[in-house]
């Protein structure tokens, strides 16, 4: 990079402390115009804090932010947008009760003409391969679709610096590649990009420079193209990381999970209808369900856990030879099945309750934690303590509130809570979403060990690396339908990617799939 060019963004010794933790400790970063700059770090390394400072949501305690060489104080997101900073959050800042269009319009500082905004939304979203229906309500959209809104509404403002926080977690490999094309195009037009990720392979293909954060400090600046994924990961974590290992196991046992011709209308009018789904999972087998967010994963998870029940199809779902489609979650758990949905906060765990109480939440009956309608507090504490120690949950104790744990530690606790119930069947969705690399390895290894003991696992995941690492067979879900199962050895990432886009699963006739096909 030419040294005469003024950096678009310079951070000089930026420090931000919260009660009990220094989230950012004298951070120095320089981002040049047109540069794709990676910000790497584990969960809790201080990436989000830094980004919130840049976007005017937090004020630094000390240090200076320079924009185009001039010191600036950014007093709020609107001001950040005025400077030309666009931000795509990991946790979306969308109003659920409003439409896509209204959410986009809210973020625009100037434009007030809804018709014009609508036109630009459609243009930009299709131009960048991020199809969006402007009139859908956000609450009815999947995680992946919500992220598209965030990306599109930044692009509408012609930003000089675009900050993206883990943008590809909800995209297929092909869509990711397309997004990268978009980002490279933006960069070549002079827009700087701050790319936050923990997917090292992506950082290596996309970014030309990387700043690595650990525990609130910059520990390295490097060119990721010259590093290996392993060396980057070790810089991030500060120690060597192990990888999962799978023992050979035989999947010759009978089917523990059998789903035949499951069709179900969504409860929510914009949800995805499950359409004639059939699959089986054998004893000791992990079946992966790959797919782009919002293609029926949420609905499939709900149907498997019993939170939604296909009443008119009592024979659609069988666990260990018992028809369960009409049974609720508690009855299914009683048969030895456990469930881990995608969302930790408020779904698989209650934030404001202690770890003990959260252990009781789903393990009460199977672990005999209650006697005659009363909570058996000593057994609950013991069970929660077991989960904490066996799954290396970093916490102050079982009386800590679930919300005080980092995402990775809470997820380890939740997965551990289910695994220690010695299940015969596990249905788990997005087990390592927003989880740090160390915890992800622990969780995946725990799943492999569980399968080795004979448990049948249905793993719903958007992370293809994860599916290829853990699963024996794979199906792809698209538009509420699933493809036939394939042995993991006999299928390539590209093939799966095509299936994820809907090809070969549904006839390409109408709607988004057709348009996407046309764009290609």
């Amino acid at each position: 990079m030419d040294e005469a060019v003024v950096p678009i963004l310079t951070l000089n010794e930026v420090t931000k402390a919260f009660p009990g933790v220094v989230a950012n400790d004298s951070i120095d970063i320089r981002v040049m115009p047109g540069q794709i700059h990676a910000l790497l770090g584990e969960n809790g390394a201080g990436k989000s804090t830094l980004v919130q400072i840049l976007y005017g949501m937090l004020r630094p305690d000390a240090g200076t932010v320079f924009w185009n060489g001039h010191p600036v104080k950014i007093y709020g997101p609107a001001e950040a947008r005025n400077l030309g900073i666009g931000m795509v959050f990991q946790h979306f800042s969308l109003f659920e009760a409003m439409t896509v269009l209204e959410n986009v319009a809210l973020a625009l500082n100037e434009e007030r003409d809804m018709a014009k905004i609508r036109k630009r939304v459609i243009e930009v979203s299709h131009g960048y391969g991020l199809p969006l229906d402007p009139d859908r309500y956000v609450h009815s959209l999947s995680v992946g679709e919500r992220q598209r809104i965030e990306i599109v509404r930044c692009l509408l403002q012609d930003p000089k610096l675009l900050i993206l926080d883990e943008p590809t977690s909800v995209l297929t490999p092909q869509e990711t590649e397309k997004l990268f094309k978009t980002l490279r195009k933006l960069a070549s037009e002079g827009c700087a990009i701050l790319y936050i990720s923990h997917k090292l392979r992506e950082v290596k293909t996309l970014c030309e420079t990387a700043t690595i954060l650990r525990a609130g400090r910059v520990v390295a600046n490097c060119d990721p193209r010259e590093e290996t994924a392993q060396s980057l990961a070790e810089l991030m974590i500060g120690q060597r990381i192990s990888s999962t290992s799978r023992a050979a196991r035989e999947n010759s046992g009978g089917d523990r999970i059998r789903v035949t011709n499951l069709s179900m209308k969504p409860e929510d009018e914009f949800g995805i209808a499950l359409d004639d789904i059939s699959l089986t999972v054998k004893r000791g087998e992990v079946l992966g369900v790959a797919g782009v967010a919002g293609n029926g994963q949420k609905e499939l998870m709900a149907a498997m856990s019993g939170e939604a029940r296909p009443m008119e199809q009592p024979d659609a779902i069988w666990f260990d030879g018992v028809p369960v489609a009409a049974l609720g979650p508690a009855a299914r758990r009683a048969l030895g099945a456990v469930f881990v949905p995608e969302e930790r906060n408020g779904h698989s765990a209650v934030r404001d309750m202690t770890l003990s109480e959260n252990a009781f939440l789903t393990a009460a009956r199977r672990m005999k934690l209650m006697i005659r309608g009363l909570m058996c507090r000593s057994s609950i504490r013991k069970f929660a303590g077991d989960v904490v120690s066996r799954f290396d949950v970093r916490t102050t104790g079982v009386t800590a509130q679930a919300g005080s744990l980092s995402g990775g530690n809470l997820q380890k606790f939740i997965v551990g809570r289910e695994i220690l119930q010695d299940p015969g069947i596990m249905v788990i969705s997005q087990p390592t979403w927003g989880v740090d690399a160390g915890a992800a390895v622990t969780i995946r290894q725990a799943l492999l060990n569980l399968a080795h003991r004979g448990c049948a696992i249905l793993l719903i995941s958007q992370d293809l690396d994860e599916i290829f690492e853990v699963c024996d067979r794979i199906v792809v879900i698209a538009k509420g339908r699933v493809s036939g199962a394939r042995e993991i050895e006999s299928v390539s990432v590209d093939e799966v990617g095509l299936l994820m886009g809907g090809f070969g699963v549904v006839e390409v006739n109408t709607g988004m799939v057709a348009r996407r096909a046309h764009d290609d």
């Binding site: 856990s305 939170e307 979650p329 779904h347 209650v350 789903t362 209650m370 309608g373 009363l374 919300g403």
Partner: protein
């Protein structure tokens, strides 16, 4: 510049401090209001808050008033924990009084020792029946329980009026809209001689203990708390939301019915067109003042009972209008809800570029 910013984690101290701050702010508003009315604020506050409890009899009267508030407030607090909004405790109170009082009137010449237990049982049953209606409408038709339970209150009060003006009017009562006076065996025993303090207060204390056990030790209490804090987690764990709605309404309705029957068979001794100075509504304030916590409800009940007593005495002694009681209760709830923001947020003052956080 003053602004609110999120605390990040929920404060432990503020939930305990906010009721105290709200009470202080209410007193300060009281001073302002009394001064504006041309009364001596010091004397008015003394009359209102200290004089009522300056005698033993005054204290027993406080407990008499606190008993229904605590009974109802406890039931409501449990329901509110589960986001079940029973606003119609006044109606369940009234129907409890009608069921129990009707039994007392029907057997007015009996001196059986089973009479009082029968009256109490029917009182509880009446409250549960009245609570079951909004529970059914909510679980069957998804009708908003705030509206249904509130509207049923007016139905119950009209029913009571009809009964005491018509069929249940005292035959020897010179056409006054009052029922017969209950027989001695239909009345609850008093706890302290020469006072009106009756068994109802003991029930209130028992309700607090049972309520605490229920919320903190029982599985159903756990389920109620989970439903309130994270409905999706409750579904995930397989808790039946409908069952919990029924449970909340039957429990809070039953306790309100008990409070109602205890009022007529303990304090009043007959059915009148008006048997409650709004206990069922004030108990909503009691539940929130007590942070939906059983022991907090007990304290909240005492505070609100004092506002009733003080209002009566202030009316007599210094000629304050009766509306001042309602005014104080409203101001208190207003400040309480306002101060609640401090549990999750803190105030940031910036004075000349320096920040002070509370």
């Amino acid at each position: 510049m003053i602004r609110l910013e999120p605390r990040g984690e929920v404060s432990r101290i503020w939930p305990l401090l906010t009721p105290l701050i709200a009470i202080l702010l209410t007193l300060a508003s009281g001073v302002a209001i009394f001064s504006a009315m041309g009364k001596d604020p010091g004397l008015a506050l003394y009359t209102y808050f200290v004089q009522p409890v300056s005698t033993i009899y005054g204290v027993t009267e406080l407990l008499v008033k606190a008993a229904p508030l605590v009974l109802i407030g406890m039931g409501l607090a449990i329901g509110f924990r589960a986001n079940v909004w029973n606003i119609g405790a006044e109606g369940q109170f009234t129907i409890g009084a009608i069921f129990g009082g009707g039994f007392a009137i029907a057997f007015h010449d009996s001196d059986s020792i089973l009479l009082l237990p029968g009256i109490l049982f029917l009182g509880v049953l009446g409250g549960m029946v009245w609570g079951a209606i909004p529970a059914y409408l909510r679980t069957r038709f998804n009708a908003n329980e705030i509206l249904t339970s509130l509207m049923l209150t007016y139905v119950s009060i009209l029913l009571l009026n009809y009964l005491v003006h018509g069929p249940w009017r005292d035959p020897g009562g010179f056409n006054f809209p009052e029922s017969r006076i209950f027989s001695a065996s239909a009345m609850m025993p008093t706890l302290i001689a020469d006072s009106r303090l009756h068994l109802g207060f003991v029930f209130a204390l028992l309700a607090i203990l049972v309520g605490w056990l229920l919320l903190n030790r029982s599985v159903i209490g756990f389920q109620l708390r989970v439903v309130g804090q994270a409905p999706a987690a409750a579904r995930h764990a397989g808790f039946s939301q409908n069952k919990l709605i029924w449970y909340s309404f039957l429990l809070s309705g039953g306790l309100a019915g008990l409070a109602g029957v205890a009022e007529v068979a303990g304090t009043i001794g007959q059915l009148l067109p008006t048997i409650s100075p709004g206990y069922g509504f004030t108990a909503i304030i009691v539940a929130f003042l007590g942070r939906l916590n059983p022991f907090g409800v007990l304290l909240g009940g005492l505070v609100m009972a004092l506002s009733y007593l003080g209002g009566e005495i202030a009316q007599i002694e210094i000629g304050l209008p009766a509306a001042v009681t309602g005014l104080f209760q409203g101001i208190l709830l207003f400040f309480l809800l306002g101060c609640d923001a401090l549990t999750h947020n803190r105030i940031k003052f910036s004075i000349a570029g320096r920040f002070v956080r509370i």
